[in-house]
Every structure is written in structure tokens, then in C-alpha cells.
Point group: C2
Chain length 235, copies 2
């Protein structure tokens, strides 16, 4: 087996800033992970982002079953949906300063509404590179775990977010003088099916979020969590 | 490193029937993967199923980026949602004959409506065991790939399912003398966001499926595919 190559000079500031491993990464893929589709139609991070979404979900699931051996599957599912959300990814991207390394066309860079999604996609693409460089989670978990730990703990500690329906109701009453409205349908007749109910939460004519769950309440809590995060991050 | 243990005698018929690896599996976990929650509240496959859902999604994504290097991310997403669906898992479980090894309470076994979900969950739990035994996809992919290949090819070959909206419309016109109804909402204002639109497809007062996508059409196609599979499997 040959010695893993050190990073090429151009990537060193990125590696240092993001605290990525100094060796063993596929440097060409890492470079590609930081190219937004607006900067190149041919070589960009779209496919890496597609793959990285699955890497993140698996890493979060593995982290949760290890850290919370006594949690119910319903709680694990709720926390995982928080950990893999674009909001969480965008927060991590902000913390570690991904944006200045992201190649974006000038027009796309000026689109402020698209910025959170751009950052979340870049995070997923980086996770794909960490996975694909070794073919397993060995480089992913040490890099990602501290971020997951912080955010999982926030969820566990925070009584508001522990009950998203109540939290969202208080927030919309305070800020919008109105209550959120749930539209919940039974999409499967199977008792115990974790995808039995699907809920959307609306504020006036705006859909704030959606969720699924084994019970009407679980689906609405998941939808409320999305809605709460949306309003809380951009009031 | 110690030699991997051969399977205990009680599990041998299961290993042979499901064509699982003869060595290197965690036999205790494999046994647990075949215990439905109705048979034991303490030791059952619920947490394995939670984890296996992520394993399946990653294995399907890896399979697709390898097999279809030129497919668009939109097409990859549509095919992945088909491959990881409960319908697909239930079909595979039927083909390989998982049911006779599944421990279920008598009452739960009599619940025919819950049967597809029970089989899909057992499949996900088995995938979790294949992953957890080695800590990577090395045992998962050789076992799962032939099934994914068959089902991905069906989707690529089948002009009906290539255009699920048309297929579903023809099916409901033929069988129900009515057209499906789409309820589609914009859940994000970000152009290019793969989760920008959410669609539900309804037949009268029955929600047949839901989907998300970067465009109105993509979300409705994903919802239509779920609806088509639902009606096609249980007319």
C-alpha cells in the first residue's frame, strides 16, 4: 500500500480552516465538493451532494444508536430528522466557515435566499468526499461527531424544542398573533407504521414544514419542529 | 485477529435460504433482526430497522452513482426513492422468503394489512446486521446489489413507470373512471432546491402518495410513482 498523499498547496488553507484530515482524502473530489453548479455545469458538487445526503443520514443514525442506547425509536427518528436538516447543516457550515472556499457564479452568490441551501449542499458534498476517500465512515465520524453531539444535546436540553408543537404555538402567538394550522392525513392504514401519518403545518397561506410519524401527534411534532426552526432562524 | 465464527445450528436454515454470508456476521444481531416487536417488547428489531433504513439508502445511492455515471441527479433521486420504498423491500422479502423466519405474535401475524410493513422492516433490520457486523457496506452490497439491479432496470425499462403521472392517470381512468388530483405547495423559495415543492396525489378522499422535488412536475412525478405502486400492488 502506498503512502497517502499530503494535500496539494492550493487546498491547504481549506483543510486547515475546516480541520479536515491532513492525509487520506481524495483531493480531487474535495476540490469538486466546493464547486457550486452555477460555477461549472460539467464539474460541480451535485452528485456528491446526492450521495452525501445518505452518508449524513447513516452517520447520524450510527451516532444516535451509540449515544442513546435507551431512547425510543420515535425519539431517535425525531432527533435524526433535526440532525440531517438543511438548517443544521447550514449552521455547521457557518460555524466552520465553508463559504469563502465555495466557488459560485457571481449571479448565484448574489442570491441571498439560496445561500443556506448552497452551504448545506456543500456540507453534504464534503461528507461524501470523506466517505468515498476510504469507503466507510472512518473519516466521517471523527469530523462530524462533535457537531452532532452539540446539536443533539441542544435538542435534549431545550424543553421548547422537546415539544415543538407547544414551542411553535408560543412563537406564532407572540410574533404573528395567530395559531399554526395542521393538515394531517393518514397515508397508511398499518398500525405502528412509522410513516402512517403525514402532517403539514401552515401559518396563513404559508406552509412552514411537514413531517411523518406513527401517530397523528408524532407527525405533527415533526412538522412543528421544521416550522419552529424555520421561523426561529428567519423571523 | 480471530477466525470469524460459523453460524450456530439454529440459524443455518435462515442463512441458507436468504443466501447470507456463511461467516463474519454477528449471529446474535441476526437473530434479533428476525424478532418483531409483537413477539418481544425487550429484544426486537425496532432499533435495527431504524438504523437499516439509513444503510439501505446509502447502499442504494452508492449503487446508483456507480451504475449510472451519466444520469441526472433528478433521475437518481427518483430511482433511489423507488429502491428504498417499502414496496420494493416487501417484494424482495417475498422473493427470498423471509417471512417463515420472522418471529411474530399470533395476533400480529393475523393482521394481514400490517404484513408488508413487517416484511420491509425485517429486511431493513437484516441490512443493519450486515452493516454492523463489519462496520461498512462490504457485506451489504454483494447481497443487496442483485436485487437493486433488477428493480432499477425495471424502472429504466418500463416506459409506464418512467412517466408515473401518465401511468397513474391511465390506471385510475381504467380502474376507477376518474383522474387523480394533485395538491402541490411550494415549501421553499430557493430556485434549484431539490425540496422546493411538495405534492400529494389524491383519488377522491384517499391520499395515494406524496413526493418532493425541485420543480412542481418533479414533486408530482414522485407522488405519482408512490400512488402508482400503491394501486398497482393492491388494486
Amino acid at each position: 500500500m502506498t503512502e497517502p498523499l499530503p494535500p496539494p498547496p492550493l487546498l491547504r488553507p481549506l483543510i486547515a480552516q475546516l480541520r479536515l484530515p491532513q492525509q487520506g482524502l481524495n483531493w480531487e473530489l474535495l476540490d469538486q465538493a466546493l464547486i457550486h453548479a452555477s460555477a461549472s455545469a460539467d464539474r460541480n458538487n451535485e452528485r456528491l451532494e446526492f450521495f452525501g445526503d445518505s452518508v449524513l443520514r447513516l452517520a447520524a443514525a450510527e451516532f444516535l444508536i451509540e449515544q442513546y442506547p435507551n431512547a425510543t425509536v420515535g425519539d431517535l427518528t425525531l432527533v435524526r430528522s433535526h440532525l440531517v436538516s438543511d438548517q443544521t447543516l447550514t449552521q455547521i457550515a457557518e460555524n466552520i466557515g465553508v463559504e469563502k472556499f465555495l466557488q459560485t457564479s457571481r449571479a448565484a452568490a448574489g442570491d441571498a435566499a439560496a445561500r443556506p441551501k448552497r452551504l448545506a449542499d456543500a456540507m453534504e458534498a464534503i461528507l461524501a468526499v470523506l466517505y468515498l476517500s476510504q469507503g466507510d465512515l472512518k473519516l466521517v465520524r471523527p469530523w462530524l461527531d462533535p457537531h452532532l453531539r452539540t446539536r443533539a444535546q441542544q435538542l435534549v436540553d431545550n424543553p421548547e424544542v422537546n415539544n415543538p408543537k407547544t414551542a411553535l404555538q408560543e412563537l406564532t402567538q407572540r410574533e404573528h398573533k395567530t395559531l399554526p394550522d395542521y393538515r394531517t392525513v393518514e397515508i397508511s392504514q398499518t398500525h405502528g407504521d412509522p410513516e402512517r401519518f403525514q402532517a403539514e403545518v401552515w401559518l396563513g397561506d404559508r406552509c412552514l414544514g411537514s413531517g411523518i410519524g406513527a401517530s397523528r401527534k408524532a407527525a405533527e411534532q415533526a412538522a412543528a419542529l421544521q416550522g419552529y426552526q424555520l421561523l426561529h432562524s428567519s423571523p
